[in-house]
Every structure is written in C-alpha cells, then in structure tokens.
C-alpha cells in the first residue's frame, strides 16, 4: 500500500523546507446534495438553500449551494495518504492552525470539482512554551466541470512539540 511508503519525520532526515512544492495528484470531488444537507445540519445552519431545491431555484443563485467551508471535506474524500502522512507529521500532536478561502463562483449540488493541491509553505519555529513547531501550508485550487475556477483554499497545519494545554 502507498500508505506504508510514507515516512514519519523522525525516520526522515529531509529538511522540512523540502516539502515546499510537493503536489498531491488532482482528483475529482463530487458535490453531493445529501452531504451538503448533512454538513449544514452538523454546523447547525438551517438555511433552506442547503436543502430545498424549490426554494433554492427561486433565489438569485438558482440552486442548492455548498456552505463556505464544505470543500474542506475534500481532504477526507481524497484517495491516498492524508495531509499528515504526506508531511510526515505525528497526528497526536497536530493542530489545525488556520484556514483561508477565496471564492470565485458558487459551488452547486451536482457539481464535479477537480481539486489540485500543493504545499506552498513549510517551516519550523520555536514554540512559546519550548519545543519545535512545524508549520505546513496546503493550497488547493478547485475547478468545476465547466473548467471554471471556483475556489482557492489554504490550510495551515501545525505540529507542536507536545500536547498543547489550551
């Protein structure tokens, strides 16, 4: 399995900066109506535009759309190793540092997006409470089935020197 080829940072003497430019092969990410509803339920958002086709059709957008952070779920849909594994991070000590989205076009239920990801930043920093912290930024670009760029997202993953207490 590909999973076993991924080395953890300890086994891997490669400097963290060498991760920059590493690409994750493009893959298809279908935007499913049922998953949109489930996601909206999970964030407690009762907006009918995430659920009711009749309602959505009458809005200026004209259809059921995905909530702003829905596309983050691509990392769990994607085949192959996880972001943690790709960067060789220990998931017990990984925190989600930041997340950034730039929206170009609405994303509709039924769209088939293509997602391309690369690592754009990777660096180490001394943590405030001692221990090295590793920062890795994954940038993903999403295009829809018509080839239109719909979204760019940037996700910052941090590996702490140990468990963070707050």
């Amino acid at each position: 399995m590909r999973k076993n080829q991924i080395k953890t940072r300890k086994e891997n003497a490669m400097p963290i900066q060498d991760l920059i430019g590493k690409e994750i092969p493009p893959f298809e990410f279908p935007i499913e109506r049922g998953k949109i509803k489930e996601f909206a339920d999970a964030i407690g958002d009762d907006n009918p535009i995430y659920r009711h086709p009749e309602y959505a059709r009458k809005t200026p957008l004209g259809g059921i759309i995905a909530p702003p952070t829905f596309t983050r779920t691509q990392v769990f849909w994607r085949p192959g190793p996880s972001n943690f594994e790709i960067a060789g991070l220990d998931r017990r000590f990984v925190l989600h540092g930041a997340e950034e989205y730039e929206y170009f076009q609405p994303i509709f239920a039924g769209d088939i997006l293509t997602c391309t990801t690369k690592i754009t930043e990777a660096y180490e920093k001394e943590g405030k409470r001692g221990g090295k912290m590793i920062f890795v930024v994954f940038e993903s670009t999403f295009h829809n089935q018509r080839g239109e760029k719909v979204l760019i997202s940037k996700s910052t993953t941090i590996q702490t020197g140990g468990v963070v207490k707050n």
Partner: protein, 149 residues
C-alpha cells in the same frame, strides 16, 4: 422565509452582525460533524485516545467552529456574497462550551464597480476566550444596481 442579507447602501463601518449562539456543544454534535465531514481523527471522538495523547477529554474540530462562524457570516451578508473567509484557530472548544459567533464591519468601499465590505469575525466561548478569529470580504448587492429604483 426568504434570506435577504444586506444591501450596500444600508451598512456602515462599525455595524455589528446578529450573533449566532451554539449552546453547550455536545459529543454527539462533534460525532455528527465527524460523519458529515469525514474527519474521523479519534482525538475528536475517542475519549481514551484523546486522554492517552495527553488531553483531558475529546475536543471539537476547529473546522466545526469555523462552520458555526460561517453560518453567522452567510446569514449576515447573504448567500453567495462571501468572497474571502480567513480564520485562525486560537483555542479549542470542549464539550459543554457555548460558542457565540460575532462580526463587525471594519471597511466599506467600492472596488472595480463592486460593493465590498470587510469585517472582523470571531467565535467566542462563555469565558470570553476567542476560539476562532478571522476576517471576511463580501460583495453586497446595491439597491440601485438591482433595478429596484
């Protein structure tokens, strides 16, 4: 119940968003988000795993709180109007926490003929610690541009 959002003419710098409150975050809610998102990192649902990794108990995914915050934002600025959403995760949300999502317009401007606002947004816990802190840019419809006048 039509969700109207804001008109550019009606907003001013300093205006605040109607807050969205998520009371008493539960483990069930965390599991629901795990299922909806596919995030099955056991640190968020397996108490023993979370404790063995040095935590007191399980804690919510940052993206779940970012989702609560985005709900406040889209109810405020209107569906399809968000252009940028940027957040950082400052402290964690634990089962039992109550999260209040707030926003305030920091800048109103026109750019390339578009009606834009920028706002500071954050998700705050009952002890006033901010769990998620961010900024947004939204493009608002204008009353005149819509042909209403």
């Amino acid at each position: 119940m039509e969700k109207k959002g804001l008109y550019f003419e009606d907003v001013r710098e300093g205006d605040e968003a109607p807050p969205v409150v998520v009371a008493n975050v539960s483990r069930t809610q965390i599991v629901k988000y795990a299922g909806a998102s596919g995030d099955f990192n056991p640190i968020h649902h397996d108490e023993l795993y979370a404790i063995r990794a040095g935590n007191d108990r399980v804690f919510a995914m940052g993206m779940m709180t970012a989702g609560f915050l985005s709900h406040m934002v889209t109810d405020w600025v209107g569906d399809g109007n968000l252009r940028k959403y940027k957040v950082r995760f400052a402290t964690r949300v634990w089962p039992g926490d109550t999260v209040t999502c707030k926003g305030k317009i920091t800048r109103k401007y026109k750019k390339d003929g578009k009606n834009c606002i920028e706002a500071d947004v954050f998700a705050e816990k009952q002890n006033l610690e901010k769990a998620v802190i961010g900024t947004i840019i939204a493009e608002l419809p204008g009353k005149t541009a819509s042909g209403a006048h």
